[in-house]
C-alpha cells in the first residue's frame, strides 16, 4: 500500500515495477503465441516500412539521450491535445464535450486573466428560440468567437454554448481544423448555418468574413461590407432572433500591419503580417493581452410581414445595413468607454 502510494506520489511507477510489468507481458505474449501460433505480420509491399524503422531507431537513440522523459513531460503539459482526452461520441458537427471540458481551463484563463473580458448587455440574450448572434470579425484566429461562446455560456441562465461559424480558410487549415471542430466551430456556409439553427443550436456568425479578419490596423473597429446578406435572409426564413454583438479588444490581439494581398498572391493564404508574426515564428501566434469588452445589443425579432420578405433582395440588404449600423454604434460606444487598450 505504502509502496504504491510512494510510487504514485512520484508521478509514476518506479523503473523496477516497469521492468516487472514488461517481463510479465512478454511471458503472456509468448504463451499466447505458443497456443495460437505467432500473429501473422502483414508483409505486403510497404514503402513506409523504412520510414517506421527510421522512426523507431530515432526513438531508441533519443531514449538513450534521456530526451524521451522531456518529451513525455511536454506531452503531459499539452495534454489537451492528447488522444485520451477525446470522447467516443461527438455531435453531428464534431463538437467533443470531453475535449471542451479539458480545454475549459485554458479558455477560462484567457477569458478571466489574459483578456479580462467585461460582458455587458447579457440581459438582451433571448431566453429561447432560434438565435443568430452577429458580431464584428476581428483578428485572424477565431479567439473572438471562442470568447463570445464563453460569455454566452457563462451569462445565460440555460448555460448553452453557441456554435460559431469559422471562415473557410481557417476551417480547412491543417491543425486548426480538428481543433476548432472539437471546440464547436463549423465552416461558414449557408447549409451549415441552417442545419445548426434548425437543430436548436445558437449560432455566432461574422458576416464581415475575411475582409474583417485581415483589415489593416488603422481601420480597426470600422466594419467592412457585411457579406451578401445571406445571414439576414436565413434569419428571416427560419424566424431566428438576431442579436448584434460588439467585441472590442480583439482587434488589438494581432494588429495587422501590412496589407496581406501580396502573401495571398504568393502563398494562396492571406498571411497577415503583425508586429510579432511571422518575425517571431510560432511565438508570434501568442495573442497580445489587450482588455476586452463584449456587448450584446437589443435583439431584433421579425414580424410576419418581414418573414415573407426573405427573398426580397432590397429588403434583405437594407436590413443587413441596419444591423451593421447597430453594431458599429455599439462598437463606437464601447471604444469610447474603455480607458486604455491594455489597462483594465
Amino acid at each position: 500500500m505504502s509502496e504504491i502510494e510512494a510510487a504514485s506520489g512520484n508521478g509514476g511507477p518506479t523503473p523496477e515495477q516497469l521492468a516487472e510489468l514488461r517481463s510479465s507481458l512478454a511471458e503472456l505474449r509468448g504463451e499466447l503465441e505458443a497456443r495460437f501460433g505467432p500473429q501473422r505480420e502483414r508483409t505486403g509491399a510497404s514503402p513506409f516500412r523504412v520510414l517506421d524503422e527510421l522512426g523507431n531507431s530515432l526513438r531508441s537513440g533519443l531514449d538513450k539521450l534521456g530526451v524521451s522523459g522531456l518529451y513525455s513531460g511536454l506531452r503531459r503539459l499539452v495534454s489537451a491535445y492528447r488522444m485520451d482526452n477525446r470522447s467516443l461520441e461527438v455531435d453531428e458537427f464534431g463538437s467533443d464535450p470531453l475535449y471542451l471540458e479539458k480545454s475549459r481551463v485554458l479558455l477560462d484563463f484567457l477569458f478571466d486573466r489574459w483578456w479580462r473580458v467585461k460582458v455587458s448587455g447579457a440581459e438582451h440574450l433571448p431566453s429561447g428560440g432560434r438565435v443568430l448572434l452577429v458580431a464584428n470579425c476581428s483578428g485572424i484566429l477565431p479567439y473572438d468567437a471562442l470568447m463570445i461562446a464563453h460569455a454566452v455560456e457563462r451569462f445565460h441562465p440555460s448555460q448553452l454554448r453557441p456554435r460559431f461559424l469559422a471562415a473557410d480558410w481557417i476551417a480547412t487549415l491543417p491543425f486548426a481544423q480538428p481543433l476548432l471542430t472539437r471546440l464547436g466551430g463549423v465552416r461558414a456556409c449557408p447549409e451549415n448555418a441552417e442545419r445548426l439553427l434548425r437543430t436548436g443550436h445558437w449560432v455566432v456568425t461574422f458576416p464581415e468574413g475575411q475582409k474583417g479578419a485581415v483589415k489593416p490596423f488603422r481601420q480597426r473597429y470600422q466594419l467592412q461590407r457585411f457579406g451578401r446578406g445571406g445571414f439576414v435572409s436565413l434569419a428571416l426564413r427560419l424566424d431566428a432572433t438576431v442579436v448584434p454583438v460588439a467585441v472590442v479588444g480583439a482587434e488589438e490581439v494581432h494588429p495587422v500591419l501590412l496589407d496581406p494581398t501580396l502573401p495571398r498572391r504568393l502563398l494562396g493564404v492571406p498571411l497577415p503580417v503583425t508586429p510579432t508574426f511571422p518575425v517571431a515564428g510560432p511565438l508570434g501566434l501568442i495573442p497580445l493581452p489587450s482588455q476586452w469588452r463584449i456587448r450584446f445589443g437589443e435583439p431584433i425579432r421579425w414580424d410576419a410581414a418581414a418573414r415573407e420578405k426573405a427573398d426580397d433582395a432590397l429588403y434583405v440588404n437594407r436590413t443587413r445595413d441596419q444591423i451593421r449600423n447597430t453594431i458599429q454604434l455599439l462598437l463606437d460606444e464601447e471604444v469610447h468607454r474603455r480607458t486604455g487598450v491594455f489597462r483594465s
Binding site: 514503402p47 461527438v90 464534431g94 471542430t181 442545419r195
Partner: protein
C-alpha cells in the same frame, strides 16, 4: 444480394447477368453470360430482359476499387451503363437501380458539413473511377427525364465496412499503422455491408425514384476511429506523401495519391434524411459499429 432474396420468405424469380457464375449461386438461379463492353451489348441485353420479362434491374457492374486500366474502366462504367440504360428502356423494365457511390460528391474544403442529394456532383479531378461514376450519374439523370415511365434509383453509399466486405479502403485501414495526413482529422461515416444490402432491397421493392445517400448514423473523427481500433496513425504531411507516393499509387490504381488521401483530408459527410423519409432506410449499425465489426473480424483472422 441474390442469396439474401432467395433465402427470404417468398423468393422472387431472379436472373443473374455477369461474366461468370458466382460460386455461391451456382444452380440456384437462371444465369446468362453478358459482357457489357461488347459491341452489341445493348441489344443482347435488351433481348435477354425481354425474354425473361424482368420488372426490376439492379445494375452493379462497377469496379469496387479504381482499376489501373483507365480505358477499360471507362468502357465498362460509362459505356456499359449506357448500354444497360438503353436496354432497359427497350425491354420496358419498370425499375432500374444503380449502385453509385457517395464519393461522387468529392472531398472538397468548401463542402458543407452535410451533403444532400441536391448538392452538385464535384468528383475529385484526379480520381478517374469517381469521375466515370459521376459521368454515369449525369447520363442517368438525362435518361430518367427522357423515360418517365421507368423509376430510376441511384444509391450513393459512403464507404462500406463490415466483416466480409473488402475494398481498397478497408485494406488501407487494415494495417496496424494507418497512414493519415498530418494536421487533418475529418469527420468520417461508414455504412455496414448488411445495411447496404437492406437499402438495395428497399430500392428494388419500394415505389421510389431518384438518388439516395446511404450512411450509418453518427460521425466520428478519423483519429478517434483509429484509436478505437487500437491502431496507431502514421501522420504524414500531404505535400510529401503526394509527391513521394505518386508513382507507386498511379501504378496500382491509375490515380495519384490525392485521389484517395483527399478523402482523409476534407469532409464529405452525407445527409441520409431523404433515404430515411422516402426509402424507409433504417441503418442497423452506426458508423462506430460498422467500423468495429470490420476491425474485429480482421483482428480475429490474423490468429486463425
Amino acid at each position: 444480394m441474390a442469396l439474401r432474396l432467395l433465402e427470404g420468405p417468398s423468393p422472387p424469380r431472379i436472373v443473374g447477368l455477369d461474366l461468370s457464375v458466382p460460386k455461391a449461386l451456382e444452380g440456384r438461379l437462371r444465369f446468362h453470360r453478358v459482357d457489357l463492353t461488347g459491341p452489341t451489348a445493348d441489344s443482347v441485353l435488351a433481348e435477354l430482359l425481354e425474354k425473361e420479362r424482368c420488372d426490376a434491374l439492379l445494375h452493379a457492374a462497377f469496379f469496387t476499387d479504381p482499376h489501373p486500366d483507365r480505358e477499360y474502366a471507362h468502357e465498362l462504367e460509362v459505356i456499359g451503363s449506357l448500354n444497360v440504360m438503353n436496354a432497359s428502356a427497350a425491354a420496358g423494365v419498370s425499375k432500374l437501380v444503380v449502385a453509385s457511390t457517395a464519393q461522387v460528391y468529392g472531398p472538397h474544403p468548401d463542402n458543407p458539413n452535410f451533403l444532400s442529394e441536391r448538392h452538385a456532383l464535384r468528383a475529385h479531378p484526379d480520381a478517374h473511377a469517381i469521375r466515370d461514376r459521376a459521368e454515369m450519374e449525369q447520363l442517368l439523370r438525362t435518361f430518367a427525364t427522357r423515360h418517365p415511365s421507368i423509376s430510376v434509383v441511384s444509391l450513393r453509399p459512403c464507404w462500406v465496412m463490415g466483416p466480409s466486405y473488402t475494398s481498397s479502403v478497408t485494406r488501407h485501414f487494415e494495417s496496424a499503422r494507418v497512414t493519415t495526413l498530418l494536421g487533418y482529422d475529418p469527420l468520417m461515416q461508414f455504412l455496414h455491408e448488411e445495411d447496404l444490402l437492406d437499402a438495395v432491397g428497399l430500392a428494388l421493392t419500394r415505389e421510389v425514384a431518384g438518388p439516395f445517400n446511404l450512411a450509418g448514423d453518427g460521425l466520428l473523427p478519423l483519429s478517434t476511429l483509429i484509436q478505437l481500433a487500437g491502431k496507431r496513425t502514421r501522420p504524414l504531411p500531404h505535400p510529401l506523401l503526394y509527391r513521394l507516393g505518386y508513382l507507386a499509387t498511379v501504378a496500382r490504381t491509375g490515380d495519384p495519391p490525392a485521389a484517395f488521401y483527399d478523402y482523409l483530408r476534407f469532409g464529405w459527410v452525407v445527409d441520409t434524411e431523404r433515404a430515411k423519409q422516402e426509402l424507409g432506410f433504417r441503418p442497423g449499425y452506426t458508423t462506430r459499429e460498422a467500423w468495429m465489426s470490420c476491425v474485429v473480424e480482421r483482428r480475429l483472422k490474423s490468429y486463425r
